[in-house]
């Protein structure tokens, strides 16, 4: 039979259900693939071979069924897994083994999905390249000298190097969509509150949202349906039906759909190749029957500064829980030093440079005297950005823009220039501040590297994302990563 690691999730399930292969064979093929290539890519921080094979056996024994039963998945290391290490890419949680599963993890397991392991990420999901992982960067399978995006670069690289057909990411300012864009994969940020945050290690609680990643649109929709839905353990979880994402991914008809191109997310600073692929894809949507117009969202230009005040402020508060008492690292406890000194030494040792930068930035933005000018003002701008979206929905059904202004840049290129790194998120942040769903779909290559098109939709209308993604998938041939490093 064909190489099991090259199949989509849907094809994998069909092969298992029809008896052509078994879930154990599929799991083993992916574990072998990881052993063969992850030395080059470094998508995984931890591979749970025993857990994966045990789960696959349960599927083969008929204990677990469903449209994705037996399909392997790569889980971002920000989501807790009972008995399996969860580091969030940080030294401060090195060696911590959670005593509980996140709701996302529980739902994956109940659906018979086989979790292969935990994927690399920028520490605490702060970054756009995975270079801020305390455990070393992930490499982009399209070109190992380039970034796989961030913070969920491990998940996107695992997909693009055929180490898993499915992955979970989390998106606070673009950490699902930008990695999808630069690896030529599909990544969807659901509506805020659409997927439970219970067991998702918090970075910025008003923005964090987990979502599905895959190589095909239908695979992403099927995974979306597994993880989404109300959870009483997350008080911000939305108590409403999950939008019909799978149906939309199958229908993929954009006839009459009103598509708005965001005026403010183009022009200077966007690579010509990115603009070219984006423009062609919009033209394709028009040919498929969508109507296209330009829409102005005048406050989107202020989304980046608003985000880099709000997210670090929330992070500085959330990360206070790493106090050298309850979990993870403790440094300098010599029996003489005070709790406070041990705490400060532990945090200085356990957090990396980017996390420290954001904690200090957030502490500053929240301090008295600056609060109104920075944090307060940023929250007001958040309202204005939301109003830009609401005004747009009066004339269009979805908004589109490039996912990211550039293709994957070389590792190291922006490491010493935090502001340049932050600008990677310029197109993705507005949707986080608004809270509506957004996705990145591959729309071809620029200079041999993938380009993503971002679709943004009204709150709880993720079905529209899948309509557009499906239509583009049919019209634009999937660019297969050459993986030239494999044979060299």
């Amino acid at each position: 039979m064909t190489d099991l690691t090259r199949l989509s999730a849907v094809e994998t399930r069909q092969a298992i259900a029809s008896g052509q292969t078994s879930a154990v064979e599929v799991a083993q093929a992916h574990l072998d693939r990881i052993a063969a290539v992850d030395g080059h890519v470094h998508a995984f921080l931890h591979v749970d071979a025993d857990g994966a094979l045990a789960q696959a056996r349960r599927v083969d024994d008929g204990e677990l069924t469903g449209p994705l039963a037996g399909v392997p998945l790569a889980l971002k290391d920000v989501i807790t897994t009972e008995g399996v290490p969860t580091t969030v890419g940080s030294r401060i949680l090195e060696g911590w083994v959670p005593p509980y599963d996140a709701t996302v993890t529980e739902r994956l397991k109940a659906a018979g999905i086989v979790i292969l392991g935990k994927t690399n990420m920028d520490e605490f999901a702060m970054g756009s390249s995975t270079e801020h992982s305390a455990y070393g960067p992930t490499h982009n399978p399209w070109d190992l000298s380039r970034i796989p995006g961030g913070s969920g670069g491990g998940s996107s690289a695992a997909l693009a190097s055929y180490q898993a057909p499915l992955a979970i990411g989390t998106d606070t300012g673009g950490s699902i969509r930008q990695p999808a864009s630069v690896t030529g994969t599909v990544g969807v940020k659901p509506t805020y509150g659409g997927v439970s945050r219970y067991g998702l290690v918090a970075f910025s609680s008003s923005l964090d949202q987990a979502g599905p990643c895959a190589r095909t649109v239908l695979d992403a929709a099927l995974l979306h349906e597994v993880i989404a839905g109300h959870d009483p353990r997350d008080s911000t979880s939305i108590n409403a039906p999950v939008p019909p994402v799978v149906e939309a991914a199958r229908t993929r008809d954009v006839t009459g759909l009103r598509v708005g191109v965001v005026k403010e997310l183009q022009g200077d600073g966007y690579e010509p190749g990115v603009t070219a692929r984006f423009t062609e894809a919009v033209e394709t949507l028009k040919e498929l029957g969508a109507t296209v117009s330009e829409v102005s969202c005048p406050h989107f230009g202020y989304a980046l500064p608003a985000y880099y005040l709000i997210a670090p402020s929330e992070a500085s508060s959330n990360l206070a829980r790493f106090d050298a008492v309850r979990y993870g690292l403790r440094v300098g406890d010599d029996g003489v030093r005070s709790l406070e000194d041990v705490m400060a030494l532990t945090r200085a040792k356990g957090f990396g440079a980017e996390v420290k930068r954001r904690i200090i930035l957030g502490t500053y933005a929240l301090s008295s005297g600056y609060y109104d000018a920075y944090y307060g003002q940023a929250q007001k701008v958040r309202t204005l950005i939301t109003r830009d979206f609401q005004r747009a929905w009066e004339s269009v059904d979805v908004l589109v823009a490039p996912t990211c202004p550039t293709v994957a840049f070389p590792l190291g290129a922006k490491l010493e220039d935090p502001l340049a790194m932050y600008k990677q998120d310029i197109c993705s942040i507005p949707a986080n501040l608004y809270g509506g769903p957004a996705a990145s779909f591959p729309v071809g290559l620029s200079e041999g590297l993938p380009v993503g098109l971002q679709v943004m939709a009204p709150t709880l209308r993720e079905d529209l994302l899948y309509l557009v993604g499906g239509a583009l998938e049919d019209a634009i041939p999937y660019a297969v990563p050459p993986l030239t490093w494999e044979t060299s």
């Binding site: 904690i359 502490t363 701008v381």
Partner: protein
């Protein structure tokens, strides 16, 4: 004029319980100055004056549940992840100084 001084960064680091090295403070002060210079453009948004702040993307009312005891994580499983535990509790470094 810089947005933030090295002394101010050192003060913030103390507030945030981060025992930073001198070299880290030097580097951070410069970087934060650049970042704050960029985010300060938020003040240009003059039409924000009379706008209510958004704290959360999706407005939710207070969420309550019946006041019923439900199972929590086993104590030993939680303490197993702690850096130090003793007698079924988290063990912490000394909180009071020598004089007390």
């Amino acid at each position: 004029m810089p947005e933030i001084s090295r002394d101010e960064v050192a003060h913030l680091a103390r507030l945030a319980r981060l025992a930073l090295e001198d070299s880290e403070l030097d580097k951070l002060a410069g970087q934060l100055d650049v970042i704050l210079g960029a985010v300060a453009q938020i003040s240009e948004v003059t039409d924000a004056a009379d706008v209510p702040p958004t704290t959360h993307a999706v407005p939710v009312e207070n969420v309550t549940r019946p006041d019923v005891v439900t199972p929590s994580l086993p104590r030993d499983a939680v303490l197993a992840g702690a850096p130090a535990a003793e007698d079924g509790r988290f063990r912490v470094p000394q909180i009071l100084g020598d004089a007390e």
